[in-house]
Symmetry: C3
């Protein structure tokens, strides 16, 4: 009993919502316009945009599942030494780094430029002049002009979740040796978005290449999928830009158009050596320290110093661990405070071959599940008891589990690895089998009468799974006495 | 003057919203899709589902009033010794117990099973074996297997309001001697519901009987009323269920289908003697103690120990009392803290014959009014000054008062008793006549010029009702001097 | 650097959202139904309602911009000694006083009538009777009947923003010598409104004059603009009103209809001399004191004593000041706490000739901009890089800047003065040029690769505007070294 209470408390703190005092702080979200979910499908991206430095794949936002969940999904692949151009989105974004590593800039208006570097010109200049000459205020000014200050740059690598607020400019640079693959979900139905639920992206540079074939594809695709990426600057008059930045008009023109149509991911000319990169090890150390020392209360952090990144592969932070069945790692607003404001969270699971994810439903959120490795048989059931989804899902595929719909997963022979994005900052699941299930919570009398079984059978139903919860090991155990 | 300030303070605390610091904690709710309210009607349930153990009546969710308010309404009648099968809803539910008494289970994932009982088998076993033999850990294990643990069971009786969160499994059992009648409103437009506004129910057992006549009826009813109650289990494959629960496949089949089609309310085989019931007297005592001792702050309560029940008949907790006109009992988030999270509240009124409920509008919520006894003439006026409702309402009928619409009620000769469910956890009304009315708040000069009356007439308009507020006694008083 | 940090902090506190701990208190707002914004337009009112004492002009609520922003806009002109009749709206209102001054009553149910005056009759009576005769309780009662008590009356004048909660009755009286002109935006998509997004007004007196021409005009206008102002009282039966107020039926009839059809603004018979007016000077002094002394924490204020008024012309409270380019005055929830509950804010700008408002987007809100004086060239760009708005705007015109759309303004030769209403209580802008811009926040390497420019050009782009932020002075500065 005591074990159970402790387990319940731990699970409550980690995985479930503290539905008590904190729930009133939960941001709001309106109900979907229409959920036509007679038949759910495994979804793959339908639109591909080839840029100079990589590939952008977009799931069709007009799919019924995505419209019900109010989200859009994108996968970006960046070649080494390529830059995803700066831009922003009208809704918060959760990004999972499937492969590779890189650097992300996330700009906030009003935050100071705390990263200071020296430009190459300054470096070469320093070689020819002795440092003793510096000191006069004019010299100081010139030096400041040539050294570069910029806002914080964040290192990320495979297994990271990145949380990006609505309207915040961000860019990504692949400084690794392999392709960088990032899967992202945009929460269009978020309260931060006061525009409609159409998928939109706002770029500050670049522009989508206008290829013949692709134009045709766009023509036939439905309205909601027709987003065409172009730079915001191209809509302003060049005279106004020149004056706003106090630059010559030929440079202003450079802001506006990119005649080579390199797309939204560009190959970099050199390897961005001027830019200061975070000392990774120290950043991680610091983070771990604040978590363990409970120094992190979400209040003392301002938006300028908040964390946007959480690694989902850290073994010691797994929330559900079963030696027989696998592990689950959750990240919610308690682990990554920015998620409270974005009202989103994520889960990464690594399930062993033939394990079963207990039948359950989500009380709080839609889930967008993206398969990372292996395969599994997934069954989703609606309120009429219909099996609306019963597919084998594989790597690179995505499916949506609507709120309240019951789901269970049986892992294949290779194991199963997935990441799921959830439309709530405080997600809560209700399991149907196992130690923390609703069946276990009910009196035997209720089970006996609900299912017309004997008290003995009802006891088996309640207790046969013993202390297993969420992740159930495969194979029938020995019969109970 | 001082009386008025005190009255204002008391009313503010009890009946009105503390629009100050607490309002920012109010959960959110989006505006209705479309409110076509040229003509409101008295509504009666249009669909009847006969189950083995009782009757379910559903108001047509496609009615304009219900769609504008974003709610659905249901009435369940349970025979004695019958069980409303376990299930949950995609939105919070407020239930009023119109008649009878019973037990409710409300399961929360992660909450401990704090009710411990011994199964019948254990009881009979104990008779044959002496207790001294027990002691070994294997024996202990076996004993634990046979005694039953379950989550808290709540006693409710006539006059209670029950608050049920979205996605939380609940069941009800009529252990009384008379029929149990419960009227429920489901708040589909609540932020807890991320599905669309269609009426849905998710059951863990049972299934709606498929009768011929009823099938036809469903075919002709509009889409939104076509909810068909079936168990979630029937959508999973029986092999998967057998494995998930670690039970033989023939018992798993028992979870799935109910070939006898007993419906969603079943007659119980015995009287659920194994189940532990709460000691009612002590529960009530405890509740009263915490209220008076102000020990209840909504923070120290976790979701596992929170109260879900409030009795609306307790005379000493009435909020508005008039010797001539009747009494009104309100329950909002201050009295029942769970209502803060559900963003719902309720009011029960017991008005004397010929009393008048002052003309007023709600500043915060739609109201769904259900008539319990007697009759009254109700007038509702829209923003164009049109009388959109002017009906005599009787027992068992329901009507909707849209937010901001002005309404007044004149009780018939038999008196009038009603319960109304409100789509706000902190409801606030603005009366048009009486001590706390907007007319009284305005300077006489404004009344004189607004209504082209003499200052004397304006004074009569403001002051003739004296200290009466909300509930106005019948019959013209003697003329004022 | 330090300057910048301080500037950043100051700006964060004043103009930007404290996206940290406070954001979770932000009221919610759902996304727009549909934003068809291929082409934005300068909007002028399309419907005119002439009342006895003034003119009401309404912008067509079916305009795409207004539907996307979820707002309605109205301009009222009151003749001297005229009264805008008491009524309320189903959504919060922000009002800007463009010209003149007056008195506003804002009634809250339950708030005490703290303004006490003596009626004229009482005044004349006092002359004939000596005061020494008073003293008996009956006499006291009579005296109380004749003196008038009413709720607080607020003085407002040109340059004020008034914030009016949903459902709160308010009236306005022009006691000045010139016309009173008020521009108002109603936030229909606010969480306070549970009706649909149609424009509605609820009046307690008066009624729109039914002229022939106007009736025809209404017939051709689209549904959403067809609001017809009539008194709520006209929908109740006169018997019921007579009884509710305990007044003779002929006075009750006076509440209901206004056969002369004076409209919703009436000319007053005398100059409302009976009504107590606030001592203006002391009110202002008090307000300033609480702001400087930081006594104002939003908690100790109850709804009965809260401030609803903020003057936008007070020079010493400007938030952005540039000697070359002008000043901007913001009012958000930190300056006027009631805005936290209304989830609205406002900005007033007074820009010098030829100044530039930096290209920027709003991260949090739609803006409804109303031109007060002068003219400016405004460019608005959408996510496809299309110039959706490129017009010269003039006095009395209105335009909408959708959330996330980039906008820049170039002031004409006469200067430019505007007020803009924002659909967020904590608005945040992201500038594209200047000291706090996203361009400045990015490393030079990112700019070099994004825009294919030399490091030298990227430095010019980042630093040429020096310390200027938001408001940019006109004319090219001397070239940088």
């Amino acid at each position: 009993m005591a074990t159970k209470i402790v387990l319940a408390l731990v699970i409550s703190l980690l995985a479930y919502a503290a539905t008590g005092a904190e729930e009133n702080l939960r941001p709001c979200r309106s109900s979907a316009e229409q959920c036509r979910l007679q038949r759910l499908r495994t979804l793959e991206p339908t639109r591909r945009i080839q840029s100079e430095g990589g590939l952008t794949e977009i799931w069709d936002p007009s799919e019924d599942e995505l419209q019900c969940a109010g989200v859009a999904a994108i996968r970006n692949t960046l070649q080494p030494n390529s830059l995803f151009l700066p831009g922003f989105h009208p809704a918060p974004l959760l990004v999972y780094i499937e492969q590779g590593e890189g650097l992300m800039g996330l700009s906030h208006p009003g935050c100071p430029e705390t990263y200071e570097s020296e430009s190459q010109r300054e470096l070469s200049r320093r070689r020819s002049f002795s440092r003793s000459r510096a000191g006069g205020s004019q010299e100081q000014e010139q030096r400041e002009r040539r050294s570069d200050h910029h806002q914080k740059v964040h290192r990320f690598r495979q297994g990271d979740i990145l949380a990006i607020p609505a309207g915040a400019v961000h860019w990504c640079y692949n400084d690794g040796n392999e392709e960088l693959v990032a899967f992202a979900v945009m929460d269009l139905n978020n309260q931060a978005n006061q525009l409609d639920l159409n998928f939109r992206s706002f770029f500050l540079a670049g522009g989508e290449p206008r290829q013949e074939g692709q134009r045709g594809e766009r023509g036939t695709s439905r309205q909601r999928g027709m987003e065409n990426f172009q730079s915001l600057f191209s809509g302003f008059s060049e005279e106004l830009l020149a004056e706003a930045y106090d630059i010559p008009i030929n440079i202003a023109r450079r802001l506006q158009e990119d005649e080579s149509r390199r797309g939204i991911i560009v190959r970099c000319q050199d390897e961005m050596r001027r830019m200061i990169r975070p000392d990774e090890e120290r950043e991680d150390q610091e983070r771990r320290w604040t978590i363990n020392g409970e120094e992190e209360n979400g209040v003392e952090e301002t938006i300028c110093t908040t964390r946007f990144r959480h690694n989902m592969n850290t073994l010691c932070e797994s929330d559900i661990v079963s030696r027989q069945a696998g592990r689950i790692h959750l990240v919610n607003q308690h682990k990554l405070p920015i998620l409270r404001f974005l009202d989103l969270s994520a889960e990464k699971g690594r399930l062993f071959p033939n394990a079963i994810y207990t039948p359950h439903w989500s009380m709080t959120d839609h889930r967008i599940v993206y398969v990372l490795r292996g395969d599994a048989q997934v069954q989703i059931v609606d309120n009429h008891g219909n099996t609306v989804f019963n597919d084998r899902v594989n790597r690179g595929q995505m499916f949506v589990i609507p709120q309240f719909y019951a789901v269970t997963t049986r892992v294949g022979n290779e194991g199963f690895e997935y990441v799921s994005m959830k439309t709530s900052g405080q997600p809560m699941k209700s399991p149907m089998a196992g130690y923390t299930s609703v069946i276990r919570a009910m009196p035997i009398d209720v089970l006996v009468n609900s299912y017309r079984m004997s008290p003995r059978e009802a006891q088996d139903l309640k207790y046969n799974r013993g202390h297993q919860s969420f992740l159930l090991s495969s194979g029938r155990s020995s019969a109970s006495p």
